[in-house]
Amino acid sequence: MKNENWTLDIIESTNGMEKVLPNKILFDKIQNRIKLETLVSNKWIFLAAATFALLISINITLLKSSTTKSNTQSETVISTISTTNQLY
């Protein structure tokens, strides 16, 4: 019987429990984290855009230089053939 009473006492020990108020600083902490997350996400968007732009500009530069190179090379070959006009 004592055991039963004690068990019930333990189970009922949360009766009359009051709600606990969270720390007042918690709201500021949450707002700071939200601001930080927004900043970070903006930073990543900017970084991704910058990387993309850089890749495109590198590609364009490389394409341009390779086109100029191949033109010069073919011109050289043609000029060599036309001036010598000899096989041996």
Partner: protein, 183 residues
């Protein structure tokens, strides 16, 4: 789209006590409960646009809080398993301290008893623990719990009943220890 500052503050004032207390009952650690409260409100702010109003806002917030708490416990338990093979760290001491938790909202004369109760609540399975905490500590009705847990009312009734039975059995087993302590 996220909430503007005014709406967010209003929402925080309305639900912060609910979220914080539920997290505190779940995790039995003030710092952890604060961390979960932060995570919950950040998620609310980020995904409020996805909230489809299929359930009430309160139910949705309850679900987010419970899921965050369960994830947190899983993460802590995995850390605990990891530490068995490694050196003791500060985190491990934190994990060990969980059972020494004294709930700040509990009446002084019940502190010792409730400490034991929370220790045994932690031994319950996820669903039984959730159902018991929502029913006994938060005072929600079975239909409300069934909506939050997405279970039928009869399943919730059964969960609460089994949780109480398990608790009674485990507490009863501790009675001898308690008597020896008194001597």
């Amino acid at each position: 789209m996220a909430l503007d500052n005014k709406d967010f503050e209003k929402l925080y004032n309305q639900y912060s006590i609910l979220v914080y207390n539920l997290a505190l009952n779940y995790l039995q650690n003030i710092e952890d409960a604060e961390e979960i409260t932060q995570d919950v409100f950040i998620q609310i702010n980020n995904s409020i646009s996805k909230f489809q109003e299929k359930s009430s806002l309160k139910t949705w917030i309850y679900r987010i809080t419970i899921n965050k708490c369960l994830d947190f416990i899983k993460h802590k338990n995995s850390q605990k398993r990891f530490f068995i093979f490694g050196k003791k760290s500060q985190n491990e001491f934190e994990i060990e301290n969980v059972s020494n938790f004294e709930h700040p909202g509990i009446l002084l004369e019940n502190k010792e008893k409730s400490k034991l109760l929370f220790e045994i609540i932690n031994e319950l399975g996820e669903n039984q623990k959730t159902a018991f905490l929502l029913s006994k500590i938060d005072g929600l009705s079975n239909p409300e719990i069934s909506e939050i847990m997405k279970l039928s009312i009869s399943s919730v009734e059964s969960l609460v009943f089994r949780a109480k039975a398990t608790l009674k059995e485990k507490i009863s087993n501790k009675f001898e220890e308690y008597r020896k302590k008194l001597k």
